[in-house]
């Protein structure tokens, strides 16, 4: 199924919980926040909220910099 991740189309095997999707990312889980269709999904709901066909996902990576 097709989803949009950070503005780009991506193919996923099928509907899956956010936690499963995050596990496929090349960064540790704790370093990302995920928004599904415009809303940040709190971490404690990652196992419950399913990603569906056509969802628009925003993966926000933890960034420390203010460039001192």
């Amino acid at each position: 199924m097709k989803v949009i991740v950070n503005g780009q189309e991506r193919e996923l095997e099928g509907p899956m919980p956010i936690s499963q999707f995050v596990a496929t990312l090349p960064v540790p889980q704790r370093h990302v926040a995920v928004a599904r269709n415009g809303d940040v999904v709190p971490r404690y709901l990652w196992d419950e909220v399913l990603i569906q066909e056509g969802d628009v996902l925003e993966v926000v990576r933890m960034v420390g910099g203010g460039a001192f």
Partner: protein
């Protein structure tokens, strides 16, 4: 005519007479009635805003939604629900603003959303800028130009040649000088009308609560996770709005955290282990990107001070400079957040020093 509930802005010289409140809710049908009711609640203030014949003396200027009431219908001007009334005494020079201030800030004052009252709010506001670096430079510069009366700058570092690609507070001759010193000099050179307070040294769990509560708004330009989490926690505990942003390479994130409506820990509950997330020094950053985001931080800070528009609260703004796209996602308080959740586990500032492996925050950033 129905009685309306209006907000009365109490300027600093009168505040002690109104129980130290900045805003007081008062009912009334006209400006005069609102002020009469205000005087009833606070007789001491009443003696200041009315003469013995119950008239508003000439040295008191009254504004309704930033318009001087004599340009409207005088004291009999009707008020509507949600209106804002301000009672401003003449100060030195006999005016709300000095003639020089009127000229300097004329492009602000001419806008009804700012006006002379808004400009006074800016002049009496106190903003703390954490870090005189990439974000703190444009943010503090625009705040100073806007006439934000008190700007605090926290930094412990000295200007390095590699900073000058983006940190517009500092110039070539400043290399080797403390950033706070260079920052103060630049801000005052741009606008001597503002007061710059420097806090030299790192923000720590020991000093954060001595500094932050003195300010109205905090702008975060931290370059490391130690400081980022410390500022987040301290602002929540002190009940101060935090205009937060972080940037790396071509990407930026920014939002306004209003205490109780979500915090950085709702997004990322705890800092990463040392070295797990690249710093600007390791990964680089587009200099102009700091200008975009630092300026946006100044914009959001000014909106908060003036109480205008929709602050960027509950929304995370994402900017990808390479695609040229701004996106926002909605952000809510996470009930499981360790700081601002329903059962918080963080009740005071913990000693974050060394948390991310850096003996002094920022030295590696």
């Amino acid at each position: 005519m129905e009685k309306a509930s209006v907000t009365v802005y109490i300027p600093t010289p009168f505040r002690r007479l109104a129980g130290n409140q900045v805003y007081v809710q008062v009912q009334g049908r006209t400006v005069h009635e609102v002020l009469e009711n205000l005087a009833q609640h606070f007789p001491g203030l009443g003696n200041m805003i009315f003469d013995h014949e119950k008239r508003i003396p000439a040295h008191i200027n009254v504004y309704l939604n930033n318009q001087e009431i004599h340009t409207l219908q005088g004291p009999d001007t009707p008020v509507r629900e949600g209106d804002e009334v301000a009672v401003i005494p003449a100060i030195a020079g006999g005016q709300v603003l000095t003639p020089e201030q009127v000229l300097r800030y004329s492009r602000h004052i001419i806008m009804p959303q700012v006006g002379p009252i808004g400009q006074r709010k800016l002049l009496t506001a106190k903003v703390l800028v954490v870090g005189a670096g990439g974000l703190g430079s444009p943010a503090s510069l625009y705040l100073a130009l806007a006439g934000v009366g008190t700007i605090g700058i926290v930094d412990f570092d000295v200007v390095d040649l590699s900073n000058l690609q983006r940190q517009i507070l500092h110039q070539n001759d400043d290399v080797g000088r403390p950033k706070t010193e260079s920052a103060r000099e630049t801000l005052l050179a741009y606008n001597p009308d503002v007061n710059v307070i420097i806090h030299e040294g790192p923000l720590t769990s020991e000093n954060a609560m001595d500094i932050i509560p003195h300010y109205d708004v905090v702008v975060n330009g931290a370059d490391n996770f130690t400081t980022r989490y410390l500022v987040n926690d301290a602002c929540y505990l002190a009940g101060k709005p935090l205009v937060d942003a972080s940037i790396l390479m071509f990407d930026a994130q920014m939002t306004v955290f209003m205490p109780g409506k979500g915090c950085y820990r709702c997004l990322f509950p705890s800092p990463p282990p040392p070295g797990a997330v690249p710093s600007c020094a390791e990964a680089g950053v587009l200099g102009a990107l700091t200008g975009v985001i630092g300026s946006l931080q100044a914009v959001e800070t000014i909106k908060l001070i003036l109480g205008i528009g929709e602050p960027l609260v509950g929304r995370l703004l994402l900017y990808d400079a390479l695609t040229g796209e701004f996106r926002t996602v909605k952000l809510r308080r996470d009930p499981k957040c360790p700081l601002c959740g329903d059962e918080p586990t963080i009740a005071e500032l913990v000693d974050y020093e060394g948390f991310c492996g850096a003996p002094f925050p920022g030295r590696e950033g």
